[in-house]
Amino acid sequence: MSVNYIPAVFEVLRDTDRCIKCRACERQCANEVHYFDEDFDKMQVIEAQCVDCQRCVTICPTSALKIRKNQNEFREGANYPQKLIIENYLQAQTGAVLLSSMGNPVDLPVYWDKILINASQVTNPSIDPLREPMETKVYLGKKSLDIKRGDDGEIIPDTEYPQLELDVPIMFSAMSYGSISYNAHESLARAATQLGTFYNTGEGGLHKDFYKYGPNTIVQVASGRFGVSKQYLDQGAAIEIKMGQGAKPGIGGHLPGKKVNADVSQTRMIPMGTDAISPAPHHDIYSIEDLRQLIFSLKEATEYKKPVMVKIAAVHNVAAIASGIARSGADILVLDGFRGGTGAAPTRIRDNVGIPIELALAAVDQRLRDEHIRNEVSVVVAGSVRSSADCVKAFALGADACYIGTAALLAIGCHLCRSCHGAKCNWGIATQRADLVRRLNPDFAYKRLVNLVHAWDHEIKEMMGGMGINSIESLKGNRLMLRGVGLNDRELEILGIKHAGE
């Protein structure tokens, strides 16, 4: 039926004067957009299958390809934009929930971009990070200020609670083996090891090959409990309980059976080919006291040697929830904002549920200070930390460290086509297809991750130096270093910052 016709989202433009018919585009497109037409002796395209992953564009040896938005336009209308109309067509056709991946692309305020950073002039010298030491090492974990002294009067340097030492204040956020590929995991693990930071297994367990990166691994325990065993918990440097995810607060996860190959099945400890369903809640956590029990179960299981992190999605009453978690024995609290990525989420949830991480962080940090328990828990933010500037702003708002997910994937080749749920990632990241996974070369990818984080770390140091700060501790929660632009009083009040010019 013609009403079923869904216009292609993209147009694939090929400059035939440039095309040498090498067919690399054809070979490299898992969506089978390109094909060679023997009759016409030229390359042809099936545009409807294009997701604009840019793979063909980047590898074309003659730069003959361009992808652009389909110029075919419905009649304009701000209330019913073309995308929404088409989504309704699709749903009318299929009766299905719309699926999307990666972070919320909707044009909602990005507060990072409305916050500006201070620099020293005259009264206080800026510091040149190339000349003076500039420190970004961070320790995460609950801090006890109870000083214990030995009989000789000397301080006993016992932090009482386990700490995570980060050489750089950036970690790689949870992305499960299953949602991303073996090679992607290897890249993250190796990069974290080289950087002296941590990557996170996500909820898919830990492949035995990666046990060797354990000292730089955070193992996640999510509602599906996939791959969780004593051995698994023992591998990690820390354990993260995933209560929620910024991209899809309030719902669980679903890894389709076709992604559960032999390796994934073994790692997740589920039968091959079966769907891996993470329930929306943990069915042993229906309230805060249940969480406390899980936290202490995990601590018992690991002899109180590993910090336990609790990750929640940034939702409306996040500050109160955070306070509850800080009082429940968690060592580290992770806040995941509504622009955080995902391998697959219902579109409507991704685009409409949750709150911006900037506001959540500001509210949580202030609440914990108001309740004098900020020292009880470290705060890590995730959910679209896109640059070193975002990191600096996050630290100044009160974060101890940042998690990066999407930015890390960009470093290893992701072009943000937001088609992870299709499982045919042309960059070898969000796929389990062996031929596609191979496209991600961990030898390159881990170096690119290291480069990215080093570059950010340099920039963080530059900005700190500009502020006259030479250690990241002095940036943490230092909101005087921030000013808002174009924000209303309410927003400024929540962020705890003044407006530019004040």
């Binding site: 420190e135 200020l145 250690s471 929660g477």
Partner: protein, 368 residues
């Protein structure tokens, strides 16, 4: 309207000086004036102040409160509060003399008080904490009242003006103490509120500080979790509170405090022998929120001693020197030479190196 200290953060440059007689000889405040006067250009007439230790031997067991009142209503209100919480042993206007450079003075009163034992007991706090909380309460909640000195056998004197004029205004040549610290202020703007001048003091701790710390808000928001209210938004205030917290509450020694607030760099720590390395790592980690970065040189005055400390990059000048039992600390050498021509062993302490000078055995016997 121009905002005063506490409503806005005002960056300043400064001059500081201080000295102590380790034998406990009581030195006239006139020497303190002489010392700061030569650094006239380091101030701009918008604040100066002094802290003298051992100046009230006759009331050495009472807390000496120095209070500014902007109005007599404020005075009445605060005095009622004091009455409820303290046994006021003595009260008087602080003697001043007219100096043409010093104008717009508030009401300046001094009280020697003992906390009411029943109230202390009821508060479940130790006596010092009780006193400190009362002081903080007044400064936060009592409009137009400001307690600017609250220690025992010590006193802070400060005003808007050049420090040498402030010293003459308060007739400091009539006081004698075993140690003095002085501050000349160079704020970039201030409406000229007397409370905003330095030193800043809480109980026996007083701080004179030259610098503008970059970590201010990080430090402020951290220390405020422990019952302090940074009402002035000045570096001196937050540094004082941090030192009060670490020394009085957490019982860290002064050199340990230096290792927290001007902590060695991680690379330096890594090079220390393992036990020391662990200790320093521990202090930096646990008290991360109290690391102070950005330029500062401070003289901490406390009961029986002085500590000089620079930020870890030494972004502000500070020298020390000595002669016989005297120990001198100043922003510039001239300030030492002005009162001790033949001072010896003048040197610039390294960034983060705490220099401590305290009363010796004899001095303690005489003064404490």
């Amino acid at each position: 309207m121009q905002k005063k200290e506490g409503e806005i953060r005002i960056p300043s440059g400064c001059a500081i000086t201080g000295f102590i007689s380790r034998n406990g000889n009581r030195i006239s405040g006139g020497d303190a004036i002489k010392s700061i006067e030569v650094m006239h250009d380091r101030s701009n007439g918008l604040g100066g102040g002094f802290a003298g230790y051992g100046i009230y031997p006759e009331y050495k067991d009472q807390y000496a409160f120095h209070i500014f009142y902007e109005s007599s209503e404020a005075k009445d209100y605060t005095e009622k509060y004091l009455d409820r919480h303290f046994d006021i042993i003595n009260l008087s206007k602080i003697p001043t003399k007219q100096v043409k450079e010093i104008t717009k003075e508030p009401l300046i009163w001094r009280y020697f008080v003992n906390p009411l034992p029943t109230r202390v007991a009821a508060s479940q706090l130790d006596e010092e904490e009780y006193v400190a909380q009362c002081v903080l309460k007044i400064n936060k909640d009592h409009k137009d009242s400001f307690v600017f000195s609250s220690g025992k056998n010590m006193g802070v004197f400060k005003a808007v003006g050049f420090p040498e004029d402030v010293g003459r205004f308060y007739r400091l040549d009539e006081y004698a103490g075993y140690s003095w610290t002085v501050h000349g202020r160079y704020p970039t703007n201030t409406p000229g509120w007397w409370g905003g001048a330095h030193p800043f003091a809480l109980l026996d701790y007083s701080i004179v500080h030259n610098g503008e710390i970059s970590s201010y808000d990080a430090n402020r928001r951290f220390i405020e979790m422990f019952g302090y209210q940074c009402t002035l938004q000045t570096d001196t205030e937050v540094i004082t509170y941090i030192i009060d917290f670490l020394n009085r509450k957490k019982k860290l020694t002064l050199s340990e405090i230096a290792e927290v607030i001007a902590a060695p760099f991680w690379t330096t720590i890594e090079r220390r022998e393992p036990k020391e390395c662990e200790r320093l790592k521990y202090l930096r980690n646990v008290f991360a929120g109290m690391l102070i970065t950005g330029p500062f040189s401070i003289i901490l005055g406390y009961k029986g001693g002085l500590m000089a400390l620079n930020d870890r990059l030494k972004l502000r000048s500070m020298v020390v020197g000595e002669k016989d039992d005297m120990f001198y600390i100043a922003s510039e050498e001239c300030a030492i030479r002005a009162i001790c021509k033949d001072a010896e062993d003048i040197r610039a302490p390294r960034g983060g190196e705490a220099v401590i000078a305290e009363l010796n055995e004899e001095g303690r016997r005489k003064c404490l």
